[in-house]
């Protein structure tokens, strides 16, 4: 039987590569009896959803803008080139 430590690594890797059938079976058997790791798996899937949304620029709400100072500096650099 895999330990929670091993399962957490495999659950993470399942987001990065295709697990072997042996690994998948091991994870599935463990998750069947382990609530903690089942929650961990859901949370990893949530983390991916959140990060993808973050990446897509939902962050626009945070209003990231080039400062006027940076803008001036870049304009000067462009003029000099």
């Amino acid at each position: 039987m895999l330990t929670c430590k091993e399962v957490s690594a495999l659950v993470s890797q399942s987001l990065d590569r295709r697990l072997s059938w042996r690994e998948r079976l091991g994870v599935r058997l463990h998750l069947f009896i382990c609530d903690a790791c089942t929650r961990f798996k859901w949370q990893m899937e949530f983390l991916r959803r959140a990060t993808q949304r973050f990446a897509r620029g939902r962050i626009e709400e945070v209003s990231l803008q080039l400062s006027d100072k940076a803008r001036d500096r870049i304009l000067r650099a462009l003029k000099q080139d």
């Binding site: 330990t3 990065d16 803008r71």
Partner: protein
Amino acid sequence: MDRTPPGDKLSTPDGWLEQHGDVLYRYAYLRLRNREAAEDAVQDTLLAALRGRQQFSGASAERTWLIGILKHKVSDYWRRAGRETPLDTDAEEQENLLDLLFDTTGHWRTAPSPWNDPDAALEQSQFWHVLSDCLAGLPPAHARAFSLCEIDGLEGSDACKVLDVAPTNLWVMLHRARLRLRQCLENRWFQRQPTNDA
């Protein structure tokens, strides 16, 4: 430098900054999480665009073209940063993380707690600040790996090239980054949310 007015497909460099500056900056900032580095990346991108504007085919939109250049600048940054901080600097600390989370028999010391309606968090702007802070709190090597794969959307094999590590190392780094982010979100967001006790 050739100052001939641009063709109708391409606006002036000043116009690039005006029209696309904030978008480019945001793109760079989200990946580099460092204001100065992001500003530099925007500047380098526009300079490269200015020098290479003959190569702009007009087939892709101007912004897409500029973002294409910016992607390379972001990769360059990570490559340089990779040389500056060897990846194994936090190897020792990584072991501590696992010892902190799991006991000697491999069980969770503290099991992940249930998160109440996590997807509702995605609708709250404050959540994104917390996620952003949690990302910024990762050890540099993990932050870099996580950012390349999950935010920049690089394929694993490309991320391995940029980071100069084997796939197994990359998976280890991503695992540690996720463990840490999970813990951070739990502490800083989910444990502070009111529960649904009717």
